[in-house]
């Protein structure tokens, strides 16, 4: 009994020190003591972020072989390569918390780990590649800029680097849309159609309204998250609506209007039924994305085994 009390006391002390450190604005580093719940929250969030980068390679990769010019192909290849690189940094950041990349991939395959639901939507035309860069990366940046000051050091440093690259992607996506809006009638229709299909799912990327978001409070208290879902969503809407207007795209929201008093755009209701339906596995490409990842992973098993066997052989020789 005495021992339990002592342990409880030690736990309370640990939590107190930890929270003081957070409140001072110090970064938490891998070897620092941290509450289990903090560690678990970070593993969940960072691995989800890493999986999103990797699964996101699928809808974009869908257009690599059909990119319409050599320049467009180079930009798209470089972008997808960046996304894969972000996946790598993030897996490494999560590994500092005591989980391996293999374990994270297993959790993804078993459905226990998630990835951003936006990648369950298909890229149907070349304009979708523009819209993904502009809207999806644009939404991701708003979130990631905020995460640059997240409390966990390795995550925060990964975000600083990732943000630099994402801002290129966002501009390149916007350039595709702008070019198409200056192009033929068919191109303009393609661009508007991509906007119509991807606008609402992009707003959903920020997650449920603050009043409905279950994990926000701990994440805010521990400064993993620095701004709420609704704050970030609003920031994204405000900057993107203006960009759409400049190139002549219509935002598919009849309730959208500038609110002079608030200094923000008001927007129409988000279809949360669709959000939860897709999050829970019933979107256009959920099955396809996961089947693809599992198939490729399994097909590559013999390569990974061979590399490991070769490494061991060489180690034994030395």
């Amino acid at each position: 009994m005495e021992l339990v009390e002592k342990t409880d006391q030690a736990q309370a002390e640990l939590l107190k020190n930890f929270e003081e450190k957070i409140n001072r604005g110090d970064a938490i580093e891998p070897k620092d003591k941290m509450p289990d719940a903090y560690r678990k929250h970070l593993i969940r969030q960072i691995s989800q972020h890493a999986h999103s980068e990797v699964i996101g390679m699928q809808p974009e990769g869908n257009w690599i072989t059909r990119a319409p010019s050599l320049r467009a192909k180079q930009i798209l290849l470089a972008k997808i390569q960046d996304e894969g690189g972000h996946g790598l940094y993030l897996y490494s950041a999560a590994e500092t918390l005591g989980i391996s990349r293999d374990e994270m991939i297993q959790l993804l395959h078993s459905g226990k780990a998630k990835y951003s639901s936006i990648f369950n939507y298909p890229t149907l035309t070349w304009a979708d590649i523009g819209a993904v860069g502009w809207l999806v990366d644009g939404a991701a940046i708003v979130n990631q800029v905020s995460l640059q000051r997240t409390s966990y050091g390795p995550y925060s440093r990964a975000m600083v680097r990732i943000c630099k690259e994402e801002s290129f992607h966002q501009r390149q996506g916007y350039e595709i849309m702008a070019k198409m809006m200056q192009g033929t009638k068919e191109q303009r229709e393609m661009a508007q159609d991509a906007m119509n299909r991807l606008w609402w799912p992009s707003l959903m990327m920020f997650g449920p309204h603050d009043s409905e978001s279950p994990r926000t409070s701990d994440a805010m208290k521990w400064r993993i998250k620095r701004h709420s879902n609704d704050e970030l969503r609003q920031k994204f809407i405000d900057k993107t609506v203006q960009q759409a207007e400049v190139i002549g795209l219509t935002v598919p929201d009849k309730d959208l209007k500038w609110n002079e008093a608030k200094g923000h755009y008001d927007h129409g209701p988000i279809d949360w039924d669709e959000f939860y339906r897709v999050v829970n596995g019933n979107g256009p490409c959920n099955k396809q994305r996961m089947d693809h990842h599992i198939r490729v992973h399994n097909e590559g098993a013999w390569v990974r085994e061979a590399a490991e066997a070769y490494r061991k052989k060489k180690e034994n020789l030395n």
Partner: protein
């Protein structure tokens, strides 16, 4: 064929090799056995697309008919492509792709090392840049051929099968014709005999180290220089050129 036409064809052939090989490698993006390979192969595809862009743009200039790099990549028909057949073969498994990359990158390394001395300054400049890039492609492929050749029984068998299947497409890399001979006389084109001997030496050594057998020479496939391709080529072009062909008035 006059010298200008021969030079156009020479540059287009080099550009097509890069373009088509890049197409195949880029198909690995999101399909590789580990994430690091998704990145590596995408990165090589990116190098090659850049090389294709410079070479096709130069070919357009040599031709003098106002065609751009994109016109040449996206608006030519199959019979006007001059890449080597080995570049267009489907990827197969990872062993097949790595064996091919070893063969082509080693060829390119020695080829562009020679082309650095070309009397054509534009080609010499492209060669100087390309040698640095393909050195990495070659090193990467060599590492994988060693790992897979001398890894597990399965990987060894897959690698040997790949090497055997690809062998009949390798000799075309060193085949010369009267047009190339004309450019050789002007010190523009590379002496392929020099490239072949360096290639064969490196490949034999690498395959042997990887515990793989060097195949015996048998029937050899050729046709790229005459624009006669495998059946795979038409499918590459129908996919690659889709948007440019479907929306001829659009700019992207």
């Amino acid at each position: 064929m006059n010298q200008q036409q021969a030079l156009y064809k020479y540059c287009v052939g080099l550009g097509d090799d890069a373009l088509i090989q890049s197409y195949r490698l880029s198909e690995w993006c999101r399909n590789a056995p580990i994430l690091e390979e998704d990145l590596a192969l995408t990165n090589f595809a990116l190098d090659m697309t850049g090389r294709a862009q410079v070479l096709l743009s130069y070919a357009g200039k040599v031709e003098g008919a106002g065609r751009t790099d994109d016109d040449l990549a996206y608006r030519r028909a199959e019979r006007q492509f001059y890449n080597h057949l080995i570049m267009e073969l489907p990827n197969g498994d990872f062993a097949f792709t790595m064996a091919r990359l070893l063969f082509t990158a080693t060829y390119e390394y020695y080829f562009f090392t020679e082309l650095k001395n070309s009397a054509d300054h534009d080609l010499a400049a492209v060669a100087a840049k390309t040698v640095k890039e393909v050195k990495y492609h070659m090193a990467h492929a060599t590492d994988w051929v060693l790992r897979l050749g001398d890894g597990t029984e399965e990987s060894h068998n897959r690698m040997q099968k790949a090497v055997n299947e690809l062998w009949m497409y390798t000799h075309e890399l060193f085949a010369t014709d009267p047009d190339v001979a004309m450019l050789r006389d002007g010190n523009i084109a590379v002496d392929l005999a020099v490239v072949k001997s360096a290639w064969l030496q490196f490949i034999s050594r690498t395959l042997t180290e990887a515990t793989l057998a060097v195949p015996a020479d048998g029937y050899q496939q050729t046709g790229g220089a005459a624009g006669i391709h495998t059946e795979h080529m038409g499918h590459i072009l129908s996919e690659m050129q889709y948007l440019q062909r479907a929306y001829p008035d659009a700019t992207w």
